[in-house]
Amino acid sequence: MAPGVGRSFTAASTLEEAMAARRQGAVVLAGGTWMMRDPQRGVDLPDAVVALDRIPALSKVEIDSDHVVIGAAVTHAVLGRALHGAAGFEGLVAAAENAANPGIRRVATVGGNICALDFAAADLAPALLVCEATVELETFEGPKLIGISDFLKDRHALLAEAIVTRIHLRRDLVASAHIRLPLRKAGDYPVAVVSLAVDKDKRCRIAVGSVEPVARRWTALEQAMRASQASALDPERAAGLALEHNDFQGRDGREAEGWYRRQVLPPLVKRGVAALLKTEGLAWL
């Protein structure tokens, strides 16, 4: 039989329909920008897929005074537009508006970005980590909420029996920034990504993407900045602390070797803190 002949394709219009297809073994198709490259990598496309783009509830961004809910099928472009100008989400907006290139951003979804298991350079992952996002899953047993940090660590197992449906964000940030280092000015995967945020308790949150296989919070630096006698929100001071507390093991990849990804982190922290200080939320500092 020729490849693709008899392939099952479910364009689900409800979550129940999507879960039924998942139970039958269908793989979730989001925007397609990751999965559709599989043949180029010598990987066969799945025999059965279920598309989520026709489920209305998964394609909207709901903005409340203290809460934001992002549907998993929302594209980067829509997310950037929806949150543009929302205080505290500058970093998430920058991540959505600068990932990949404009054409990809119109197609690639939030859910797809955080569910692509072997995509270390996902821009939204560190940006959502500093938002301390909660991921809502629909599992075979029902809905489930999990913190983004745990989701990213355990997603391989979690996604075997679940679909990511929504991302929940509290509006507890006063400012955030997202600094990425691509080899060209734009359009390719970043060598390293640093997301930073300051919450209402003036605590600084920092996350790093693309350096290790999975994005994570930089807790050693966060703690050092909290303990710092001098103002930790000084770019030079923050870069010094980043150099001192750099506990990353850089991954080797086509764009850059691991040592380089690790080494660029302090200057990116410096840029990030400088960007934070330019936000309206921190203008009082």
Binding site: P3, G4, V5, R7, F9, A11, L29, G31, G32, T33, M36, R37, P39, Q40, L45, V49, A51, D53, A100, N101, P102, G103, I104, R106, V107, K185, A186, G187, D188
Partner: protein
């Protein structure tokens, strides 16, 4: 699976693998070879088409996701018997077309951009075309052509593909 959609304003249907990239259907079944399949990874932009008026890479668009959508290719933007799209006319006037491989994708990306961003600055024009790679590296003339196109439309109080500027 049968997928039905509009292609350059006409009803169209496809019978086959729903994961077939849109670009392959355009080129192999509809012989619309203006859309180029180059990198097939969404990096080069040569396969850009409009799906429901948004410029997207057709290499990464499985036809199953195109059900009920309106697809416009470079051939649909202006047939050989009609006046060129204003952006195409400006690209020609600026002598911006070199080997021609990237141009259909650039026109499709930027025709949507000028429609939606009538007051775009030069840096914004450049940012809009980061997903379209020109190996002849003729970027500056392309940017000139887009800027001229917007400038002319503003002076004439006309639209570039839909929006009055």
């Amino acid at each position: 699976m049968v997928v039905t959609f509009q292609l350059n304003g006409e009803d169209c249907s496809f019978h086959g693998d729903p994961m077939t990239p849109l670009v392959d259907i355009l080129r192999r079944e509809r012989f619309l070879t203006g859309t180029k399949a180059v990198c097939r990874e969404g990096f080069c932009g040569a396969c850009t088409v409009h799906v429901d008026d948004e410029a997207v890479p057709s290499c990464l668009k499985p036809i199953g996701l195109v059900q009920g959508c309106a697809v416009t290719t470079i051939e649909g933007l202006s047939s050989g018997n009609q006046a060129l799209h204003p952006l195409q006319a400006n690209l020609e006037a600026a002598d911006a077309v070199q080997c021609g491989m990237c141009c259909p994708g650039i026109v499709m990306s930027l025709s949507a951009f000028v429609r939606d961003n009538p007051h775009a600055s030069r840096p914004e024009i450049k940012a809009a075309m980061v997903g379209n790679i020109c190996r002849c590296t003729g970027y500056e003339r392309i940017v000139d052509a887009v800027a001229d196109c917007l400038d002319q439309a503003r002076k004439a109080g006309q639209s570039v593909g839909g929006l009055h500027v």
